[in-house]
Amino acid sequence: MGGSGSRLSKELLVEYQDLTFLTKQEILLAHRWFCELLPQEHRSVEESLQARVSLEQILSLPELKRLIALHRAAVKIAMQSAWPSACNTANPFKERICRVFSTSPTRDSLSFEDFLDLLSVFSDTATPDIKSHYAFRIFDFDDDGTLNREDLSQLVNCLTGEGEDTRLSASEMKQLIDNILEESDIDRDGTINLSEFQHVISRSPDFASSFKIVL
């Protein structure tokens, strides 16, 4: 971790607070995490703002230390060195999340500001509107602006996993996707667009509490 040189300036903090849903402490914590990924000599403030971290680098981070050991008295230690679960290897949507939030031309690396955007959307105080907007983009696997049958089928496979006993059979998958389209596709075009998606999400009280990362 860097010394005093890696502290963000006050104006920058205020600007970030204005543009995201994060508080000052959260922004500083995010900056500390981000700097851990950079090589030692590039951890100054200016370089950290310009640097980009590739997806592979993010995914190759050592697995989050297991919090299960009871003798680890302060969970705070674990939190300070934890990488948020969005980019954890356990998350089946990790690639989609990194791809959606990336602003590089090849869409495979995150800058610090992209990272802040990510945390902001997943924070507690973000509006359901913006969460559903980004959820739609994450679930849109082929990036065409709508959720068609392939997108939905890929989504369900991500959710249920690849194990033999958990994946749905072909007929079950078809029945499930038919049900989903019947409930959500209002204009009957065979795909779900953003407004239909947001309409469906608004009827689920779980969404805001599950689409969240706690810092």
């Binding site: 607070q17 939190m79 802040l116 996993g161």
Partner: protein, 667 residues
């Protein structure tokens, strides 16, 4: 970048010229709107760009805007701090984070529920302390002296208890509550002087504070319950959230760790399969003939009637256990009998759900129906057992629906209990302690050895036995039962919330230990929202159940006050009339005597005062503590009732007196 994404946001990929136009329209809309920049679904660079477009560099924000901005930030921070406070001042945040990450938000909601209950109990305690306890110690009323002595015709030669227990072991006394008999834990120690001596009416405060606490808890629970409801639930046609919404919100982004993710995937897969099966079953049911439907209904009825009979049998067992325990209070198997009712309640609530599950699984219901049916009956059993316990206590102590002679004089069984409020308080105290000890015992004497054995040995039996499953509904019902008992005891045992707070605090750590070390996650899915709603619903039912006996006691006391006051004034008028008549009669007698004396000596007549009857129709008490507003007040500290005493006692042996001239102070 912005262009590409705005095109995506509009939903269709458009050809270039139209795309340009769309993009410009979008930009114009975003720039002119007043919404804060952070609400825009764009990347940081684009948000900065839009902000620059809205407020070019040259324009300085005015003082007014700066002040408003500062106010908004301050308001937002205040809101965040208030939310943090309402959630428990950040108590146990780390532990909740850990549990949520490892087991998902469903099980995390149980622990959040524990924190909520701790807050409720502390709030109740604060209310009681500040409105009753502190004024009591501050005003320091004079001691009323020892309890009233009275003689009473008791059947069977029972003498009223003098309060000296036969077994004087300290541990036994603590476990049964007798060690705390004269402390502020129980009703008996709350004494107050005559009403007129202070502006603050402690009696009224004592009476109203349980009601106020219950009302506050009710509002808090209701608010939390409403937050958990789906927003547009009642506008749509079906009352469940649709499958598509479930699919889109099923992944829990708080999960960390590979194991937890695997468990979650299992859960989600199970849930989808169950939903699909339900859908197929529904389709099948719609195509049933009428005969098949009737048959289906009959089997439904059969199962429910059978379970209903089991529940009735269980609660009658509790009734008899309570009666037996109360009737044989001084037997040699002292402690066992003292804890018989809590033991029977625990046994019933342990065996009941097992039987229900077995019976329900005999019929072939769809999985959701099975789960819901079992859950409903478990809740009914739990609440009914508590209700029956309080009813049977009431029957023993207050003689509901029985005509026992010992109850007639004071409205309660004064032969066996000198202070019935203390007895009720003791019973609830025992129940509370027993529940907690059972939780501890189960963790360390059942779950822990089971885990050790399963880990040590390998074999088909041990693999089948496996670790204990962390059953969410069972744990929730246990904790709600404890809270219901606390609420029931608010009037008789005002410091019971303090005890319950300590228990809830310790239960959190015990359950966390069980979850992390001794259990495996249940494969049955339990959604966070429905679980929060379910917890709060059961809690509210418990609160309403606890409010019934409390309401009965308070209303009977209030009624006694009103009735006795009006009776008092009526009696006063009657007394005055009688006095007048008597004076006239006296004078007439004097005249008579005089005339007789003039003729011959004679003996004077003696008039015995006729004591008016006043039937104690409501339970009053010889508790050393508070006079209940209807009970013998400081005026009646004399052992004999007077003519004008509004709280006259029937059945008490009155030494006959002649020619009693009622003094003015008795009116």
């Amino acid at each position: 970048m912005l262009r590409q994404w705005s095109v995506q946001a509009s939903g269709e990929p458009e050809p270039e010229p139209a795309g340009e136009e769309l993009w410009e329209q979008e930009m114009e809309r975003r720039c002119s709107s007043q919404e804060p920049v952070r609400l825009l679904p764009y990347a940081m660079v684009d948000k900065r760009f839009i902000r620059q477009l809205r407020e070019p560099e040259g324009v300085k924000t005015s003082c007014w805007q700066q002040w408003r901005h500062r106010q908004q930030t301050a308001g937002r921070r205040l809101g965040e701090a208030a939310r943090r406070l309402a959630r428990g001042c950040g108590l146990w945040e780390g532990a909740l984070y850990e549990i949520g990450g490892l087991f998902g938000t469903g099980i995390q909601s149980y622990f959040t529920f524990l924190r909520f209950l701790l807050l409720l109990n502390l709030l109740t305690l604060l209310l009681t302390t500040s409105f009753v306890l502190l004024p009591l110690t501050w005003l320091r009323p004079p001691d009323r002296g020892p309890a009233l002595n009275f003689t009473l015709q008791c059947p069977g030669g029972h003498q009223p208890q003098t309060g000296v227990p036969k077994f004087n072991n300290l541990l036994w006394n603590v476990l049964t509550g007798r060690a705390f008999n004269n402390t502020y834990l129980f009703y008996g120690a709350y004494r107050a002087g005559p009403e007129s001596s202070s502006v603050y009416s402690i009696r009224l405060a004592y009476l109203l504070s349980p009601l106020a606490c219950l009302l506050l808890c009710f509002c808090g629970i209701l608010r939390r319950m409403v937050k958990g409801l789906p927003q547009k639930m009642f506008l749509g046609q079906d009352y469940r959230s649709p499958l598509s919404a479930k699919v889109f919100s099923s992944w829990d982004f708080c999960i960390q760790g590979q194991e937890a993710a695997t468990i979650k995937k299992h859960e989600i897969s199970n849930e989808f399969k169950v939903e699909l099966e339900e859908g197929r079953h529904l389709l099948m049911v719609q195509h049933q003939t009428r005969a098949q439907r009737a048959c289906h209904l009959l089997t439904y009825l059969r199962v429910n009637i059978l379970i209903g009979l089991l529940v009735v049998g269980a609660i009658s067992a509790i009734f008899w256990a309570t009666k037996y325990s109360q009737d044989n209070k001084e037997e040699s198997l002292f402690l066992l009998l003292q804890y018989l009712p809590p033991g029977v309640i625990a046994l019933v609530n342990f065996l009941g759900p097992l039987l229900f599950v077995f019976l329900v699984q005999l019929e072939n219901y769809p999985p959701n129906t099975e789960v819901n049916l079992t859950l409903i009956w478990c809740v009914v059993l739990k609440l009914a057992s508590l209700g029956m316990f309080s009813f049977s206590l009431g029957q023993t102590l207050l003689c509901f629906g029985r005509n026992k002679t010992s109850c007639e004089s004071y409205g309660y069984n004064a032969c066996d209990y000198q202070c019935w409020e203390n007895s009720v308080g003791e019973e609830l105290y025992k129940l509370s302690i027993f529940n907690f000890l059972l939780t501890v015992a189960f963790t360390f004497l059942v779950s822990l050895p089971r885990r050790l054995l399963v880990e040590r040995f390998s074999g088909r039996f041990w693999a089948w036995l496996d670790r204990e499953e962390f059953l969410l509904p069972k744990n929730v019902l246990d904790i709600v039962e404890g809270q219901t008992v606390t609420w029931m005891g608010l009037f008789y045992c005002p410091l019971l919330p303090l005890l319950n707070s300590i228990f809830v605090f310790l239960t959190f750590y015990i359950k966390k230990y069980t979850l992390l070390r001794n259990s495996r996650a249940s494969p049955r899915p339990f959604r966070a929202s429905s679980s929060i709603f379910f917890f709060q619903l059961v809690l509210i039912l418990g609160l309403l159940l606890a409010a019934v006996p409390l309401g009965y006691v308070v209303s009977s006391l209030v009624l006694t006050v009103c009735v006795s006051q009006s009776q008092a004034s009526a009696r006063a008028i009657r007394g005055l009339r009688k006095q007048l008549v008597w004076q006239v009669q006296e004078k007439w007698h004097l005249v008579d005597d005089l005339s007789r004396l003039m003729s011959e000596p004679g003996s004077g007549d003696s008039l015995g005062p006729a004591s008016p009857h006043s039937r104690g129709s409501r339970p009053r008490s010889f508790c050393p503590g508070f006079p209940c507003p209807g009970s013998p007040g400081p005026r009646a500290s004399r052992p004999e009732p007077s003519l004008e005493d509004p709280n006259g006692l029937r059945g008490v042996r009155v030494p006959a007196r002649s020619c009693r001239f009622p003094s003015g102070s008795e009116l």
